[in-house]
């Protein structure tokens, strides 16, 4: 790979492979994972490319082992990631909780498929709750970024490593089988030399007899100490909520009805919103890019600016809609439309849901 920041390469690539390529360009040299559909291409790409640039690809014996290898590598100070799909991500929950508890940075990719249980292998967004409400036990959150294009796969995983390091937190890319499997042109980000990244003085990589020993730990037997630690961590979460909310707004300036959709669902919703505009409905699209922190500031601003209703469109039975309702705080009605199991709604079906929501709004219900 050419290390040429000036001439960024525009190439046609698959979403899953772009996640891998952009992660390496962000300075990630360690990948631990376990095979699962539909994230397969990501691991395969890493297996091929990482050894060529002095990195380590290791297929673990389980998702549990993989996330604990991530825990160890992160403790040792490396930029490190793992990837999986829904059932495998459930197994990583324990390790992610320990990473949060020990303030370890690392990137977890979930290329979602349908659930619960073994579910299916088609695209889904049914892990929204799991991703945004804490993937394991205990009081914690982690930044969750939701790409909707192959370009965003590159851009967001690149940023995810910086977010993880800045706030010392596990960070998730919540993609889905559709974005993972599709090919689109992408402008790849510049390469970063892992040696150029900010130092991690807390890392456990040997004292070299030059400092007190470091400890990476999530155990606090003193209730006061654990309480203090949790409060300190939530101050960091408050900073993330204040600074890192991201969303894209389309046709929202005069929108009375705003469709909220992320990832694959937002691609369908985008077409439906344009079609609704053509039919004279004053609607727009709010596309959350960060699912946690949820872009509640944008929701509030829209209501302040005259938005009278929201429609959440998701590839699940209604999960993000709860965050839309929390952000709307009862000021305006919020409705939901979704399909599951890999059944992708057509733009016409979403348009019908928009028309219904618009009609309900006009009746003042």
């Amino acid at each position: 790979m050419a290390n040429n920041n000036a001439a960024q390469e525009r190439v046609l690539m698959k979403g899953n492979e772009v996640l891998a390529e952009a992660a390496m360009r962000a300075g990630c040299r360690f990948f631990f994972g376990y095979p699962i559909t539909p994230q397969t291409e990501l691991a395969a790409y890493m297996a091929k490319k990482l050894p060529l640039i002095g990195g380590t690809f290791l297929q673990a014996e389980s998702e549990i082992a993989a996330i604990n290898m991530v825990y160890g590598a992160a403790a040792a100070g490396a930029r490190v990631m793992t990837s999986s799909s829904s059932p495998g991500v459930s197994l990583k929950g324990e390790g992610v909780s320990y990473m949060a508890g020990a303030d370890l940075p690392g990137v977890i990719v979930n290329v979602q498929r349908g659930g619960p249980g073994l579910g299916g292998i088609q695209p889904s967004q049914s892990d929204y709750f799991q991703a945004t409400r804490a993937l394991g036990h205990g009081d914690f959150f982690m930044p969750v970024l939701a790409p909707s294009t192959v370009q965003e796969m590159a851009d967001l995983i690149y940023d995810a490593f910086d977010l993880a390091d800045t706030y010392r937190t596990p960070t998730m890319i919540l993609a889905d089988g559709m974005i993972g499997q599709m090919m689109e042109p992408v402008l790849l980000p510049p390469e970063r030399d892992p040696e150029s990244l900010p130092a991690k003085p807390w890392a456990t990589s040997g004292t070299r007899m030059e400092r007190e020993h470091n400890v990476v730990n999530s155990l606090y037997l003193s209730p006061e100490k654990l309480n203090d630690t949790n409060h300190e961590r939530f101050e960091r979460y408050a900073a993330i909520r204040a600074k890192e909310q991201r969303a894209e707004l389309m046709m929202c300036d005069d929108a009375e009805l705003v469709v909220v959709a992320f990832g694959a669902a937002s691609r369908i919703a985008r077409t439906a919103v344009r079609d609704a505009r053509a039919k004279g409905i004053k609607c727009g699209l709010l596309r959350p890019i960060t699912l946690w922190p949820f872009p509640e500031q944008a929701i509030g601003q829209l209501i302040d600016g005259g938005t009278r209703a929201f429609l959440s469109v998701e590839l699940n039975m209604g999960q993000m809609v709860e965050d839309v309702r929390l952000a709307a705080s009862g000021r305006v009605p919020v409705s939901f439309y979704g399909q599951t199991g890999g059944v992708l709604p057509t733009p016409e079906e979403v348009l019908a849901a928009i028309e219904q929501a618009a009609a309900t709004m006009e009746r003042g219900e």
Binding site: F30, F32, T56, L58, A60, E61, S62, I64, A65, A66, N68, M69, V70, Y71, G72, A73, A74, A75, A76, G77, A78, V80, E94, G95, Y98, A102, T204, S205, G206, T207, R208, M209, E210, R211, E212, H213, N214, V215, V216, N217, S218, L219
Partner: protein, 298 residues
């Protein structure tokens, strides 16, 4: 006090300020806490053998001069607080996951000396998969396995290594092997795995056995330093509190029951077998398998 001919201890710079003034330069030390142990009082019960093994590990680290590059992985169980007792970099792992965490560290910093210290519930029950696969990958790590046939921290439940008919909180009528099966014999099992350089089972019920245990632990570290392969030392240990015995009775019970079931000795030593390392031994074992004999391009 008799003064033995022992070289004066050179303290690391960051420790000199703290404890250096307490040691007159002209004095010769005959017995001291190993440098790599902190002065934190341990949580171990009176008579518990964790204290002995912690100390042996610390002595080996100091004698090998590796404390500056050692990273220890503490388990979940009675030795969970080891990160407070050791002066080297320490990581507290999730229950059973120490070998996976050690793998992560070692892959990032191959020059570090990485050890996992685990009890029987941690290593032989919830972490069996991590144990087997770290061993079979030939991770160049050192694993210290404390087998005291019981879950100590949680108050004396049946362990994967509890003996047949042993009474515990969760086998109140004695371990019924017809219903819950047999103890896992880790040294025997791990020694069958390719990638493993060295497995020895030791105990610490007597001075002679403690010295043998130290020798084994030191070898397990030296193997890692020399890049020979994965090493595991199983220490047959006591838990007087949860066995409901005095420390002396516990050692006698260990001799009467544990050692016949878990015989001491070297279960695998590729160097003693004439190989340079575990990889060479594995290659020899598969000498009739053509694909396994293919040379790998660097």
């Amino acid at each position: 006090m008799a003064k033995a001919n022992v070289a004066p201890i050179t303290l690391p710079s960051y420790q000199q300020e703290r404890i250096g003034s307490q040691i007159a330069e002209t004095e010769k030390i005959v017995a001291a806490r190993p440098r790599v142990l902190t002065d934190v009082v341990t949580n171990y019960c009176p008579g518990c053998t964790h204290g002995i093994v912690n100390r042996l590990v610390a002595e080996c680290i100091n004698e090998l001069g590796i404390e500056g590059k050692t990273v220890g992985i503490a388990p979940v169980g009675c030795s969970v607080m080891m990160y407070d007792f050791f002066n080297c970099d320490m990581i507290e792992a999730a229950h059973g996951r120490a070998p996976a965490v050690a793998t992560g560290v070692k892959r990032v910093h191959p020059d570090n000396v990485v050890f996992a210290y685990q009890g029987d519930g941690d290593l032989a029950s919830i972490g069996t998969a991590e144990t087997v696969h770290a061993a079979t990958r030939g991770e160049k790590i050192t694993v210290i396995f404390i087998n005291n046939a019981i879950y100590g921290m949680t108050g004396g439940q049946m362990a994967p290594t509890s003996l047949p008919n042993q009474v515990t909180q969760t086998s109140p009528y004695g371990r019924d092997v017809s219903k819950v099966g047999y103890p896992v014999r880790i040294a025997e099992m791990v020694s069958t795995l390719d990638g493993v350089a060295y497995v020895e089972r030791v105990t610490c019920d007597s001075r002679a056995h403690i010295m043998q245990a130290k020798k084994a632990i030191k070898k397990a570290f030296q193997n890692q330093i020399d890049g020979i392969g994965y090493s595991l030392v199983e220490v047959v240990a006591t838990c007087p509190t949860n066995w409901g015995m005095t420390p002396q009775d516990a050692f006698q019970w260990l001799r009467d029951n544990m050692l016949p079931y878990y015989p001491l000795g070297v279960y695998k030593d590729v160097v003693a077998d004439g190989f340079a390392n575990a990889a060479e031994a594995a290659l020899d074992r598969a000498k009739d398998c053509p694909i396994a004999q293919q040379k790998k391009e660097a």
